[in-house]
């Protein structure tokens, strides 16, 4: 499984399609923390809104790094669709959690306010949950579930906006609300974290089921 994930990762890095979401991430993060970003938890809520769509975009990039014919070769060499989809989701999740970690640490280094460890931990928790939900949305909207790039973009945008619109509802809205109000963060993280993990697992299972039907 490690060799398979390494193979997929090497291909993703070669496509350079990861560059646009990463540039967006770096640019917005830089703008947010260029000056005083306000109370730490509220600032983390702001970066959660950033990490969520960037993670979704990243997962779509990972899902589509190999064209369908080469994906077929990889699927056969790996011994089935399930292993390839699990490895792809693992690569996406590792990348997204890496972004969450960066977004959690950057304000500690740049902000004049104190960032106690407990606050950073809560902030990272919120960012990690939003990253996982983003990966789930990305896997749902990328190959082989959605085959065309245009439809992928539309589906990701629609799902991202939809989950952000519904105020305090999980899996994203409750995390944002609890972080910005400093109220009930652990409960919101536990609930939405569980939903995020289930979403990634369900999306991976769907991709595994649809791959051989579309193929």
């Amino acid at each position: 499984m490690r060799a398979l994930a390494g193979h997929l990762l090497a291909d993703v890095l070669r496509t350079q399609r990861w560059l646009p979401p990463l540039l967006l991430f770096a640019a917005v993060l830089g703008m947010l923390y260029a000056s005083d970003a306000g109370p730490p938890l509220a600032a983390y809520a702001g970066t959660c809104v950033l990490v969520y769509p960037v993670s979704a975009w990243l997962a779509v990039v990972v899902a589509g790094a190999e064209d369908p014919v080469r994906r077929a070769v990889t699927v056969v060499a790996a011994g089935g669709w399930a292993r390839v989809q699990v490895a792809a989701s693992a690569v996406s999740a590792a990348g997204a959690l890496g972004l969450a970690l960066v977004a959690a640490v950057v304000p500690v280094l740049t902000q004049p306010r104190p960032y106690p460890l407990a606050v950073v931990a809560q902030g990272f928790g919120g960012l990690a949950v939003c990253a996982l939900v983003g990966v789930g949305v990305g896997v749902l909207c990328g190959r082989p579930v959605v085959d065309r790039v245009g439809w992928s973009l539309l589906a990701v945008t629609a799902l991202v906006v939809l989950l952000l619109l519904f105020g305090r509802t999980p899996p994203v809205g409750n995390v944002l609300w609890s972080l910005s109000h400093g109220d009930g963060v652990p409960g919101a993280l536990a609930l939405s974290g569980a939903i995020g993990v289930l979403l990634v697992a369900g999306a991976t299972a769907l991709a595994t089921a649809l791959g051989p039907r579309r193929g």
Binding site: A3, D11, A72, V75, V76, A77, P212, R213, G215
Partner: protein, 248 residues
């Protein structure tokens, strides 16, 4: 090995691409799927390899499977050697660069696969598939290969301990290869292409077993029902025609 048990395939509510195909290929055996364009050969191969799920029927296959697609994508960015090493690692076996050398690879092993010639890219596609030990699924494996590499491929396929299923439009002969015909399109028809036909065209088109004949330049394209091809061919040669190709 691979066993296809009455498999059928249709996409959505579209037409059936394959219907009730049963096929058993034992270890060491070579089976060529034959049939005209669009009769479902590639689909049958993709189902055998486990890329596509059949709509009906069951497939059982060995664990270590290799697949060489009909058209290897042209945008493979990693260098040839690195790509093969990574796929071998995915299989958990050491890289066998000797396969690439045996096929007469003449490109730069550290250049991206995308920059290789069609023939050299095909050798990379074949080499990654030949790492498998239970089942080889090869879609038009000879396409783009020169005569020397084609002969080596024939030997590799014939001597493989794995079950081999392949398609081939060019009538390559592998010792002990079994042929399986798919669909009705072109089934049991031998196509003979002749040159220098001239006056003999009327005679040939009227012969027993000829289902259709049409002039092509100075020659002719003649479709003959299986079983009559030898007679038609002998008669065409006696009449002074020159044979350009014979395909079934």
């Amino acid at each position: 090995m691979v066993r296809l048990d009455r498999i059928g395939k249709r996409y959505g509510r579209g037409p059936w691409v394959l219907r009730a195909l049963s096929l058993d290929v034992a270890p060491g055996e070579v089976v060529a799927l034959r049939g005209g364009n669009g009769c479902g050969k590639s689909t049958a191969l993709r189902i055998a390899a486990g890329i596509t799920a059949p709509t009906t029927g069951r497939v059982t296959r060995g664990a270590s499977v290799g697949y060489a697609p009909e058209r290897f994508p042209t945008d493979v960015r990693p260098p040839a050697r690195e790509y093969l090493r990574r796929l071998a690692a995915v299989r958990g076996v050491p890289l066998r660069w000797d396969l690439v050398e045996a096929l007469g690879f003449a490109g730069d092993p550290d250049a991206p696969v995308a920059t290789l010639s069609k023939g050299n890219a095909q050798k990379i596609a074949l080499a990654q598939a030949l790492h498998a030990t239970d089942l080889l699924v090869l879609d038009e494996p000879w396409s783009g290969l020169d005569a020397a590499a084609g002969a080596v491929l024939g030997e590799l396929v014939a001597s493989s301990a794995a079950a081999v299923v392949l398609t081939d439009h060019h009538g390559h002969d592998v010792p002990g290869m079994r042929e399986v015909f798919l669909g009705e399109v072109g089934d049991g028809v031998v196509v003979i292409e002749l040159d220098r036909v001239g006056e003999a065209f009327a005679l040939i088109s009227g012969m027993t077993g000829v289902s259709s004949a049409r002039p092509v330049g100075a020659g002719a394209r003649v479709e003959v029902r299986a079983g009559h091809s030898d007679g038609v061919l002998a008669e065409a040669l006696r009449l002074g025609c020159s044979v350009r190709s014979v395909r079934s």
